[in-house]
């Protein structure tokens, strides 16, 4: 096993860090307070090739391996989890789905524009009654000649507000179908943007589909293969959310360590107090413990392997560690950790979102449990 980043990855890491420090950090706090969608940051990210991070050069992508892409997400998340989430929804959920399952025409139509950041992607899967039970879709895809009519409501559509392209999963006659639907299609209405606890610079929208007509050729993948498209997308996004949690947690440790080294109470910096040292040590261990599952999952993707359970494991761990570490590091900062003038409160709120965004911890646990019992000839029901 080689745990080292190669030379190229090390170079990328520096480049990602520079971008995060220069372009993301200065805006992060204000963007969160204003619930701004970082459109100019995304534009600059596109100029760096980040919006086509893992796409091939043929589609103007940066051709990053998945490990490098995940390094990018972790690095961005250190400064702003929102930027990482918006980027991951675009790349992991939509762009890579088109790359994996699209016809040549679909790839040519969409991928260069997505690499350039001209079109932002959004996956529409969740519904009011299909949250954890994502298969209980009520949005219908009804064939009508050489068109399909989409009807239904989608919620929690990440990037909805700024997306030019929606990847919509609906119930067709042969099972779930996935469709690529441009924003300006009649009958597609981008609705309410959810005000959220954290990730306040990501747009989560409700999407209405009212007799929305698309060509049969808008379908991505085969008939009834909506989840053949959506499940791997979801797995990639789970890895991305774990990487986001890793960045959040790691950055919060650094923030708190700096505070503890400077804050003098009872005559010494609080870093000299054993309880604080315990907190910092535990946090450090947890961050380190998260690193391997995240990067192993990314590596598996690069090997062309299935990442279903490794992705769930990384996400399950990542959400919990992001939550626990940001919580503890906020405590180290005391009253200052609670003030929105300092970055910790935002990291705390952002981290809490990861327990649900990208699949609830409970759903990932279910899938992991299925794996644990897989060799025992027993089928686990959710």
């Amino acid at each position: 096993m080689d745990f080292a980043l190669n030379e190229e990855q090390r170079m990328f890491l520096t480049m990602f860090g520079d971008f995060a420090t220069k372009e993301v950090a200065p805006q992060a706090e204000e963007a969160d307070h204003q619930e701004d969608l970082y459109e100019d940051v995304l534009r600059k990210a596109a100029e760096q090739g980040f919006l086509g991070a893992t796409l091939p050069d043929a589609y103007d992508g940066a051709e990053l391996d998945h490990v490098s892409y995940v390094l990018l997400l972790e690095t961005l998340a250190r400064e702003s989890a929102s930027v990482a989430v918006a980027l991951a929804a675009h790349v992991s959920l939509v762009a890579m789905s088109i790359l994996e399952h699209g016809s040549d025409e679909q790839k040519e139509t969409w991928l260069p524009a997505m690499s350039a950041g001209e079109v932002i992607g959004a996956l529409a899967l969740t519904e009011p009654d299909a949250g954890s039970d994502s298969a209980a879709l009520q949005t219908r895809a009804t064939p009508d000649g050489d068109e399909v009519v989409l009807d239904g409501v989608k919620t929690w559509v990440t990037n909805g507000e700024i997306a030019g392209l929606f990847l919509i999963v609906a119930q067709g006659p042969d099972g779930a179908d996935a469709f690529l639907v441009p924003r300006d299609t009649p009958g597609l209405i981008v609705g309410y943007r959810e005000p959220t606890l954290g990730l306040r610079s990501v747009a989560f929208n409700t999407l209405y589909l009212e007799k929305c007509r698309v060509a049969q050729t808008a379908r991505l993948g085969g008939a009834g293969e909506g989840f053949v498209v959506a499940q791997p997308a979801w797995d990639r996004f789970a890895v991305a959310m774990a990487a986001t949690g890793l960045g959040l947690a790691a950055a919060s440790v650094d923030l708190a360590a700096q505070f503890a080294a400077e804050r003098v109470q009872f005559g010494v910096p609080i870093a000299q107090k054993q309880a604080i040292q315990q907190y910092m040590a535990e946090a450090f261990v947890q961050v380190e413990g998260l690193r391997y599952p995240v990067y192993r999952a990314a590596w598996l993707i690069d090997q062309g392997k299935d990442v279903d359970v490794p992705a769930s494991a990384a996400k399950h761990l990542g959400a919990g560690i992001a939550r626990g570490v940001t919580n503890r590091m906020l405590q180290v900062m005391g009253g200052y950790g609670y003030m929105e003038d300092y970055p910790m409160a935002r990291k705390y709120r952002d981290a809490r979102m990861l327990g649900v965004v990208g699949g609830s911890t409970e759903m990932h646990a279910h899938r992991i449990a299925c794996e644990v019992f897989a060799g025992q000839d027993i089928e686990i029901a959710p």
Binding site: P195, T196, I276, Q331, G334, Y338, R349, R352, V356, T361
Partner: protein, 388 residues
């Protein structure tokens, strides 16, 4: 042992619950969005006598004791942490220190209007260099004739932006430090030299005032010295102890409410063909929270009883605050998780409760300070003196 509440306490609880539903619930999300103190709630609580719930009737209070005060905080804590914070700073630390250490004249002049809710109190201790290390305060009070001149400032003062009366701790003898060198002063906020410098922008309890105060040649008459010169620290610590118990009661209310939210949703929301309540992971979460809430309830009301019986309670009050704040955090976190996406939305009151709950592990003495207090008390009995 009799674990039942007295009839007057049962009646008090019912009255406050009705008030909370009618007057506090409708404002909870609005005050968070608008970042404002619900003055109307404080006024109504005052009119009902609740801002003096634990003070004797001779000083304008309701005479319901510490148990009565716990009940008030618990019932308000079910619905709005900003309100319990405003009330707690007023009764539990602001007015309380005047009740504990004021002379008769001070109680008539200050405690009575505070108990009646005609004026609002705050407690001025914390400074930029004196958070957990409260003894490190630097605000200075220098004797000049029959007055004291205060110079310095305070930060993170709850109610600081709108209180009428603030009990301020200042250094009267720098050489002596906390033991003998600190004095408590009753300050009226409309006096020359008192200024509210700014309000903090907080993650939660946004329906409260958390103010930075500046004192510039603030003249305080001698008769406003609270307790004895040099003994301010002792007064304040006693008051903080009582505040810790009732903060525990507020956390109990919050935790109970979180549990009720979780149970309601788990009994309603269907996924995979059945209510979430049928899923063992959900059942385990709820059973764990419910057990902790019961344990907290027993702790809080037992300590409230001890206070009313005149028994020592410093260590147990610290436990109420420590355990209460952590139980409340776990309870609201669980409720949030059970609600999935809904729990993360600002259109629904849970994420507000989540942001609000977090402060309880930090203010009124961080949970680290509480652990130091508890451990110190334990080891002092064995003759080992622990330093923070």
């Amino acid at each position: 042992m009799d674990f039942t509440f007295a009839p007057e306490h049962v009646a008090l609880r019912r009255m406050i619950r009705e008030f909370a539903q009618a007057e506090v619930v409708p404002l909870a999300m609005e005050i968070d969005r608008e970042h404002r103190v619900p003055q109307e709630t404080m006024r109504k609580l005052g009119e009902m006598g609740l801002l003096g719930v634990c003070f004797p009737q001779e000083y304008g209070g309701m005479g319901a004791g510490e148990i009565g005060y716990c009940i008030l905080m618990e019932e308000l804590g079910r619905v709005c942490t900003s309100t319990t914070t405003n009330v707690g700073a007023h009764i539990g630390i602001g007015a309380m220190v005047i009740y504990l250490d004021g002379n008769e004249e001070q109680k008539k002049r200050y405690l009575t209007p505070l108990a009646r809710g005609e004026k609002i109190a705050a407690f001025g201790l914390t400074e930029p260099n004196a958070g957990s290390d409260a003894a490190a305060i630097r605000t200075r009070a220098v004797r000049e004739g029959d007055s004291w001149i205060l110079d310095g400032g305070k930060v993170f003062i709850t109610n600081g932006g709108y209180a009428d009366i603030i009990t301020v701790m200042a250094v009267t003898d720098p050489a002596l430090g906390a033991r003998g060198g600190v004095t408590a002063f009753i300050v009226e906020t409309d006096w020359e030299g008192f200024q509210v410098a700014r309000e903090e922008d907080k993650m939660g309890i946004r329906g409260t005032s958390t103010a930075e105060l500046v004192f510039e040649e603030l003249r305080v008459p001698q008769e406003n010295v609270l307790g004895k010169v040099g003994e301010g620290f002792v007064s304040f610590m006693k008051s903080l102890d009582m505040g810790r118990l009732t903060l525990g009661a507020a956390c109990l209310g919050g935790a109970q409410a979180s549990l009720e939210w979780a149970v309601r949703w788990a009994g309603t929301r269907k996924q995979f063909g059945a209510e979430l309540a049928h899923k063992q992971s959900i059942q385990w979460m709820i059973a764990n929270v419910a057990t902790e809430v019961e344990a907290l309830r027993s702790l809080v009301y037992r300590v409230g009883w001890m206070v009313d019986m005149g028994q020592p309670f410093t260590q147990l009050a610290a436990m109420c605050k420590l355990y209460g704040s952590e139980v409340a955090s776990r309870a609201v976190d669980t409720a949030l998780q059970i609600h999935g996406g809904l729990g993360l939305s600002r259109d629904f009151p849970l994420e507000l409760a989540f942001r609000d709950a977090r402060i309880a592990e930090i203010f009124e003495g961080t949970n680290e300070v509480q652990r130091i207090v508890i451990a110190s008390n334990i080891f002092r009995e064995r003759g080992v003196r622990i330093r923070p």
